[in-house]
């Protein structure tokens, strides 16, 4: 990392390759589709290159890089949200043409990923980002708090709320409601 900061091209190459997969994963889950994620990941890589000189070592490099990447992804997505929306995966031309669907059932893994994409997209950004940073970035709550500039307690509650909302969206028939959920407290 220090070599990359000093302008060592080979070191920068290694650094970018080491972090690309994780940044892709973060952007992929934030974006909800491959095309937007690819563009967002590219922007993130460019920003890391441009800003590496500002990394001061006060946090782990991964935390810093994911902060840059998260902001780049969200900026990219916000720009795209101001343009005409692309059709949703289950509402595209191919899907409409195939009604009733004569093709074999979609691969379960693909279907599941699409469902997760849709459920994450339905979450408020305040919930989605901490969950992605936790489950795909692998950061602890303190690191997520530093990345998002919010208190760790807020990270904890947002991740819990977000996951509960995701569980409802992904498996709506199997969720206890607050009223019928047993509790350990009187």
């Amino acid at each position: 990392m220090a070599a990359a900061q000093r302008g060592d091209r080979a070191a920068m190459d290694v650094l970018l390759r080491r972090h690309h997969e994780r940044i892709w994963a973060i952007c992929r889950r934030l974006a909800g589709n491959d095309a937007d994620a690819a563009d967002a990941t590219q922007e993130a890589m460019l920003l890391i290159v441009r800003r590496i000189g500002t990394f001061d070592g006060r946090s782990q490099f991964t935390t810093w890089a994911h902060r840059v990447a998260t902001n780049a992804c969200l900026d990219e997505l916000r720009r795209r949200s101001r343009r005409p929306a692309a059709p949703l995966p289950d509402d595209d031309a191919e899907g409409r043409r195939a009604t009733p669907d004569p093709s074999p059932p979609m691969d379960q893994a693909v279907s599941d990923r699409l469902a997760v994409d849709a459920a994450l997209a339905a979450l408020p950004e305040d919930f989605r980002v901490p969950i992605v940073l936790r489950d795909l970035g692998g950061h602890d709550y303190a690191q997520i708090a530093a990345i998002l500039d919010i208190p760790p307690g807020t990270v904890r509650s947002r991740i819990a709320r977000g996951r509960a909302r995701l569980a409802e969206l992904l498996d709506p028939g199997n969720q206890p409601t607050p009223a019928d959920r047993p509790t350990t407290r009187p």
């Binding site: 970018l16 990941t41 922007e43 000189g53 979450l123």
Partner: protein
């Protein structure tokens, strides 16, 4: 679809849910761990674990994407990304936010337009007009290239972040570009070695203010040591120096540290001042 930017919902979160989620992440406190063994919490944690597992199941990036992204980023690294020293204060002054190259090109253009105007008014001296026009055309090419470079920086950054941050980034990159490529910087083992080099370069101290000023202008014309150039911390302003007394402003490596060096004529003689990346004076001594 929910507005993705809707703020998180207010109100207290279900304690079992929050505990289950925190326990799943290894973030439950010591006093909470016993309670996390409660069957209700464990069931909830298992539900959330299944959700987390599904979130982690991300499609692999398309083939070739890694190489494409790295190649594009390295192009940027080669072209624009000069290295900022650790700890540099990124709050650039207003003068640093102005793209100096573009300003210089604009000033040259204005001057040459004036030359053309004078030549035209001078009458039928076609040779003079042709010469001035040719100079203007050459300068326009240079100015266009510089402007294109600046626009590339600004445009590239503008697509990468919000506009305010993009402006700051663009200005920072512009200032960094003015510092030259890292490989072009002089490097010294010590300040003594740097001082020796500067003494050899500058010669004897100027005996009068007039000569001092002349030396400064000559260096500015040279384009390498103009006061304000290569001065990312605004060292001349930081030190509250009279620009006319400044002989050298330059960014060099001394040992591992990147510093801005200012040589100026002071009452007690010619002084060497070094300012580090955090805009702190690290050396101030007679040259």
């Amino acid at each position: 679809m929910t507005d993705p930017r809707t703020p998180a919902e207010p109100g207290p979160v279900d304690p079992d849910l929050e505990l289950a989620s925190a326990h799943l992440d290894g973030e439950a406190g010591p006093d909470e761990r016993a309670r996390a063994e409660d069957p209700v919490v464990r069931v909830r944690a298992a539900e959330l674990a299944a959700v987390a597992e599904r979130v982690r199941d991300v499609p692999a990036p398309p083939a070739g994407l890694l190489d494409d992204h790295v190649a594009r980023a390295l192009q940027d690294f080669d072209a624009d990304a000069t290295v900022v020293p650790l700890g540099r204060d990124r709050k650039a002054s207003w003068s640093q936010r102005i793209p100096l190259g573009a300003v210089a090109a604009a000033l040259v253009l204005v001057a040459l337009v004036g030359v053309v105007g004078l030549a035209s008014r001078a009458g039928d001296d076609d040779d003079a007009a042709d010469t001035a026009t040719a100079a203007l055309e050459g300068s326009e090419d240079e100015a266009a290239e510089r402007s294109a470079g600046a626009a590339d920086d600004a445009g590239g950054t503008a697509t990468a972040g919000d506009s305010g941050e993009a402006m700051e980034e663009s200005a920072t990159l512009e200032a960094e570009a003015d510092m030259g490529a890292p490989g072009m910087r002089a490097a010294y083992d010590s300040y003594d070695a740097l001082a020796d080099d500067l003494r050899a370069e500058l010669g004897a101290p100027a005996p009068s203010a007039g000569q001092t000023s002349g030396t400064s202008e000559a260096m500015a014309d040279d384009g390498t040591d103009a006061a304000g150039d290569e001065d990312p911390c605004g060292a001349v302003g930081l030190l509250e120096l009279d620009p006319a007394s400044v002989l050298v402003v330059r960014t060099v490596l001394v040992g591992p540290e990147l510093v801005t060096v200012v040589v100026h004529d002071a009452e007690d003689g010619r002084r060497l001042v070094a300012v580090d990346g955090s805009c702190t004076v690290v050396v101030d001594r007679l040259l």
